[in-house]
């Protein structure tokens, strides 16, 4: 699980081009959107693509994303439970 979280942090930084952010700066429970990392709606769509491409998980309803992408913790939990 902690490997997965580390991996997710690396992927988030790389795929969302967060040039000014390091892995150490992202806490497991930090908010990804809004106040926290300040991700936006395009980032949310990119995360949906990432779930599909890297973990084989297709979101049936994009609105589900809001809960899943709350933090690295919630993402990791969701991926563990749903990955192919």
């Amino acid at each position: 699980m902690s490997d997965l979280k580390q991996e997710l942090k690396e992927k988030i930084i790389e795929q969302l081009n967060l040039e000014d952010v390091s892995v150490a700066e992202i806490g497991d429970t930090d908010q990804l959107f809004g106040e926290g990392l300040g991700l936006d709606s395009i980032d949310a769509l990119e995360l949906i693509v990432m779930l599909d491409k890297d973990y084989g998980i297709k979101l049936a309803d994009p609105k589900e994303g809001r809960k899943i992408f709350e933090s690295v913790d919630t993402m990791a939990t969701y991926i563990e439970a749903n990955r192919a």
Partner: protein
């Protein structure tokens, strides 16, 4: 009334070098455009994380407009830009990924006017935007369109120019047309300034 307007300031980006009003303000020995832009970002201490999410055309337009808009208090400054390649560099990127996992963050940049949106967001400009595509720098169209915006009071100033990016090759020449300035807003001036930074 063409002669009532002037070029207030101008900038160029070419061959890994940035000029402001004809003076070189940054140059780097970068291997590619992306590292050149990153070096410039650090040099000017921009502190604007969104910059790294932009495609090359937006980075180019953003970086070229920055010295012109940083100290510009006039918020009714229209943005009128032109180029040859449109957003083709990013279009090709989307074309290669669309069969598997098309990226929303790439797709959104497959429109040349997105760079105008990026500049509008950074400098909080709720102003007129237009993006035209020509085979080469077209001072006559830019000149008439800028004058139209100023004559009709749709804008107080107009940031105009050429921002072209394709296959690492980058060419930007931007200038602000205003009611006061050093150079007359004429085709001769535009041709001359475009050619030599």
């Amino acid at each position: 009334m063409a002669n009532d307007y002037f070029i207030q300031a101008y900038s160029h980006i070419r061959n890994n070098q940035i000029w402001h009003n004809g003076e070189s303000i940054f140059t780097a020995d970068s291997a590619d455009f992306s590292s050149f832009m990153k070096a410039a970002y650090k040099h000017f201490a921009l502190d604007y994380g969104k910059f790294f999410k932009m495609d090359s055309l937006s980075k180019l337009a953003f970086m070229a407009s920055n010295p012109l808009l940083n100290d510009e208090p006039e918020k009714n400054t229209a943005l009128v830009m032109t180029n040859k390649a449109g957003s083709l560099d990013t279009d090709r990127k989307h074309q290669t990924t669309m069969n598997d996992y098309p990226s929303p963050a790439v797709f959104v940049y497959t429109l040349p006017n997105i760079c105008l949106g990026e500049i509008s967001i950074k400098h909080q400009l709720y102003s007129e935007n237009a993006f035209f595509v020509f085979d080469s720098f077209n001072p006559s169209t830019l000149h008439d369109y800028a004058n139209a915006l100023l004559d009709s009071k749709k804008a107080e100033k107009v940031l105009c120019g050429w921002v072209d990016f394709e296959h690492q090759k980058h060419d930007a020449f931007l200038y602000i047309v205003s009611k006061s300035g050093t150079f007359e807003h004429s085709l001769e001036t535009l041709n001359r300034l475009y050619q030599t930074p």
